[in-house]
Symmetry: C2
C-alpha cells in the first residue's frame, strides 16, 4: 500500500480561506485590522526568506504586516526597550521576533518579554501554560501545524498510540500536550531514548508518529507501523537535497498517510502565525 | 524481592530542614519573612484539615501563615476583588485558594487571577509554561512531590521508561514535562488508553510508574515491571480503609521501590507548598 501524501499546501489553503473570511468579518465589525510587527535585528539571509513569505501571506489574508529592522549592533537593553514599546503601542496587535538574532543577543529573554497578548508565535510561558490547561487558541506554529495535518485526515486521535520523537520547546513538548488534550496515549522520545537503544520499539507501536529531531533519516522506513500517520517535521540538507528525519521511501510503503519533505509542515506554519495573530486580535477587541 | 518503601515523611523531613535553613538565611538578610495567605471561601471540613496542616508546617519553617476566611455567600466578583487586593498587598508574598469552594464559585478563574509572582500552588498558566521551558523553581505541589520521591532514590531518570497514568492538569501533564526535562522517555496514559485496552502493556514496560487516577486498584500488581519505581498518588476510601490506585500487595513483590498509601506523596505536598512560597519570596526580594 502506498501512503496518501499529506500535503501542507492543501491544508494551508483551507486554513487561509477561513482566516481570510474571519479577518474580513472583524474588519467589518471593528473597522480595524490586526497588525503584526516582525522585529528583525541585523541582516540575515534565511530570515529574509521567512519575512518575504510572511508578508505575502499577511497581505493575502488582509492582515497588516510591518517589518521593523534594527541594526545588528543593537544591544540587548535597546532591543528590550523596542519590545516594551511595541507592547505598549495600541496600533500594534501582534509581535514576532525574527530568528536568528546576532550572537550577542539573548533571544529567549526577548521572546519572554513580548506581552502574552501580542505573542504571535505562542511561545510566552503563559501561552504555553494554557496549552497544558487545554485553554488555548494560539500555540507554537509548528506544533499547531502538525495538529492541523492530523486533523486533515479526519481520523480520531482518541485512544491512539501517539509517539513524538524530539522534546523541544517549540514542537515536541507543546505537541505532546495537544495530543494528550485529544486523548491520544502519548509518548515523547528524545536523545535519552536513542541512547538507551529503544527508539525503534517506540516508533514501531506508533499509530501517530511525529518526528522533529533534525537528523536526516534517524527514523528508518522499516520501523513504521502498518497504517500509521507519519508527520515528518525535519528539514535537513543532504548534499543538494532537502530530506526529512524519516526515511521516506521505506516509510511511505507502510504508512497510511505521510508528509512529503519539503512540503509537509512547512507551508502551514506561516498561516498558523497569521491565525495566531487574528486570535490575539479577537481577544484584544472583544 | 520485597520493595523498599518510599516514605513521604522521610523525604518531607529532609526538605523541611532545607527550607527552614533557607528561610532563616532570608530573614537574616532581608529582615522580612515570606507570608502565605490561605483564602478559604465558606466552611469545609476537609479544607480545615489541610489548613491546620499548612499552618503547622509554616510555623515550623518560619513562614508567616494567615487563614483568611470569607463567608460561603461571597460572590465571584467579591472573591475576585479579594484576590486582586492580595495581589497588590506588598505584605503578602504568596496566596493559595483553598479548595473546594462553594459550588457557585468558579475556582479555576480565581486561581488564574492569583498573580504568578504570588502563586503558591504553581498553577498559574505562566508558571506551568515555565515547566515546559525548563525554567522553573515552583510547580504544582503533587507533581513536585513525585519528583522529590523519585530523586530520593538517587536513580538517574535519564533514558528510563517512565509511564504516567492520569493526565490531569495538577499531576499528570506537569509531571510529564518534568520527567521529559530529566530525559526520561515519557508516556502519559489516561481514560483513552484504558478504553483501548492497552493500559496493561504500557504499565508493564514502566521502569518509573506514577499513577494518579483516583480509582482503587486500577493498576494490578502483576502488571508491575520487575525492579520498577512505583509512585502511587491515588487516595481512595474503600470501606474503612484508604487505598491507592495500585494493588499494593502484588506490586510490592515486583517493584524495587514503592510508596505506601497513605504516607507516600501526601506528607510531602504541604512542604512543597512552603518551598514554593519561599521560592516566590526569593524572586520578590532579589
Amino acid at each position: 500500500m502506498a501512503a496518501v501524501l499529506l500535503e501542507g499546501k492543501v491544508v494551508a489553503e483551507g486554513l487561509k480561506a477561513k482566516v481570510k473570511a474571519e479577518v474580513e468579518a472583524l474588519k467589518a465589525k471593528y473597522n480595524k485590522a490586526p497588525k503584526l510587527i516582525a522585529l528583525q535585528i541585523g541582516e540575515n539571509a534565511s530570515s529574509a526568506v521567512y519575512v518575504k513569505a510572511q508578508k505575502k501571506v499577511a497581505e493575502l489574508l488582509g492582515i497588516e504586516y510591518e517589518l521593523k529592522t534594527v541594526p545588528g549592533s543593537t544591544s540587548q537593553a535597546e532591543a528590550e526597550v523596542i519590545i516594551k514599546n511595541l507592547n505598549k503601542n495600541p496600533g500594534v496587535t501582534a509581535v514576532i521576533l525574527q530568528l536568528p538574532v546576532p550572537k550577542d543577543i539573548d533571544a529567549k529573554s526577548l521572546v519572554n518579554l513580548i506581552a502574552p497578548e501580542k505573542d504571535a508565535e505562542g511561545m510566552h510561558p503563559q501561552n504555553l501554560g494554557r496549552i497544558l490547561l487545554g485553554q488555548y487558541k494560539i500555540g507554537p506554529c509548528t506544533a499547531m501545524a502538525v495538529m492541523e495535518l492530523l486533523e486533515s485526515t479526519k481520523i480520531s486521535l482518541y485512544g491512539k498510540e501517539a509517539v513524538v520523537v524530539g522534546h523541544s520547546e517549540i514542537v515536541g513538548k507543546p505537541l505532546a500536550l495537544m495530543l494528550l488534550n485529544k486523548f491520544a496515549t502519548t509518548t515523547v522520545c528524545h536523545i535519552g531514548t536513542g541512547e538507551r537503544g529503544v527508539l525503534p520499539e517506540h516508533v514501531k507501536r506508533a499509530e501517530i508518529l511525529v518526528v522533529a529531531v533534525g537528523k536526516a533519516g534517524i527514523v528508518k522506513g522499516d520501523w513504521i507501523r502498518e497504517g500509521a500517520i507519519v508527520i515528518d517535521v525535519g528539514i535537513n540538507r543532504v548534499g543538494d537535497k532537502i530530506s526529512g528525519d524519516v526515511e521516506f521511501e521505506g516509510a511511505s510503503k507502510k504508512a497510511a498517510y505521510i508528509t512529503p519533505v519539503p512540503g509537509g509542515v512547512g507551508p502551514i506554519t506561516t498561516t498558523i502565525l497569521m491565525r495566531n495573530t487574528v486570535e490575539l486580535f479577537k481577544e484584544q477587541v472583544k
